[in-house]
């Protein structure tokens, strides 16, 4: 139960900040009411950005496929010489 409590605590703090902003009217009221919406949209955009960046920077390793093929050949040679059946299914 610990992690969900951490998140709920965070939500409570943010909600508290929002309510205090509403009450002190430092920022114009109409704007303050929309803040949670702005927050959620920003979080969504941030998430999409992270997905996009991650996708662009996704580490790939084409050379590993080549090395793997070499290993497979080496393995098959050894195993066949020792009586292990390495025929493909």
């Amino acid at each position: 139960m610990k992690h969900i409590l951490k998140i709920m605590a965070l939500v409570v703090v943010v909600a508290g900040l929002w309510i205090s902003l509403l009450q002190t009217s430092v920022v114009p009221r109409s704007y303050t009411w929309l803040l949670p919406v702005y927050l959620i949209i920003s979080l969504g955009c941030y998430g999409l950005l992270m997905v996009g960046i991650g996708l662009i920077l996704f580490p790939t390793c084409p050379q590993e496929a080549v090395l793997l093929q070499k290993d497979i050949v080496e393995a098959k040679e050894f195993l066949t010489s020792r009586g292990v059946d390495v025929g493909s299914d």
Binding site: E64, L68, L79, D89
Partner: protein
């Protein structure tokens, strides 16, 4: 005495490690669940033995009654490598991944448990880097990650990369897990840590892997990561299919609430 002199001439870091190894050689139990991996398992065993020559280990293959003759090939491998190091601990039918690890654990005699896949997507050449990382840092768990710079993936199309990345961002946001690769199944655990965590895990499939690492993180275990490369399976059919996305989301919510 000749051995001590050899050790003293090496650099300090290696000296400590060599002495530790000679004092009490650690044994590694590698658990590999299989189902219809007749060809792959032979290749994997060859590569494991090739890359772990300097370490003491055993391989425990948990086969769920494969109809393609996987167990026959394993017996041939036992003739080549010895029944003391290639252990076949089969089960009558497909009983799931989590229970396969638990079954393997019961037959393991090592100080460390390494889990990996049988389909060559996990290359045994990374095994020494897991072991060394654990020795250097004293970590309880070393997990392989595909998503860092020296790691990587090959054979995934754009859609698969997109789902992987999206799933990862969602999991990071919700769970704050402390590792970069949640669903990876190439891992090394201290035996005690493995026994402790697996007893509190209830999920199945790849959500099992997520639950293992998240519970480990919550329990405060020292977790380290090593980069690994993941080449999507060469032979055979992938066991992934169907509504994974739904399973994944359900898994996330479950982990969010219960860990």
């Amino acid at each position: 005495m000749a051995k001590l002199e050899e050790i003293e001439t090496e650099e300090h870091g290696e000296t400590t490690m060599s002495i530790k190894m000679r004092r009490k050689k650690k044994k590694y139990s590698i658990i590999i669940p299989t189902y219809n991996e007749r060809l792959n398992i032979a290749l994997v065993i060859y590569l494991v033995f090739k890359h772990l020559q300097d370490f003491e280990f055993e391989v425990i293959i948990v086969d769920d009654g494969s109809p393609d003759g996987t167990q026959d090939v394993i017996k041939q491998l036992q003739n080549v490598y010895g029944e003391d190091r290639v252990l076949l601990r089969a089960r009558p039918k497909k009983l799931g991944l989590g229970t396969a690890y638990y079954h393997g654990l019961k037959h393991a005699s090592g100080d460390f448990i390494i889990i990996m896949d049988a389909d060559l997507s996990h290359h045994p050449k990374y095994l020494p880097s897991f072991i060394r990382k654990q020795m250097e840092t004293g970590a309880s768990i070393v997990t392989g990650t595909r998503y860092v710079r020296n790691g990587g993936v090959h054979g995934w199309n754009l859609i698969r990369k997109l789902t992987s990345r999206g799933a990862n961002v969602l999991a990071q946001t919700l769970l704050w897990p402390g590792v970069s690769d949640l669903t990876g199944s190439f891992r090394l655990y201290e035996r005690k840590a493995f026994e402790d965590i697996i007893s509190s895990v209830v999920s199945k499939g790849y959500v099992f892997q997520m639950e293992m690492i998240v519970r480990a993180s919550r329990k405060g275990y020292h977790i380290e990561e090593v980069p690994i490369t993941f080449v999507d399976r060469v032979y055979g059919s992938s066991k992934l299919g169907g509504s994974e996305i739904l399973e994944y989301l359900k898994g996330l919510v479950y982990l969010l609430i219960t860990t």
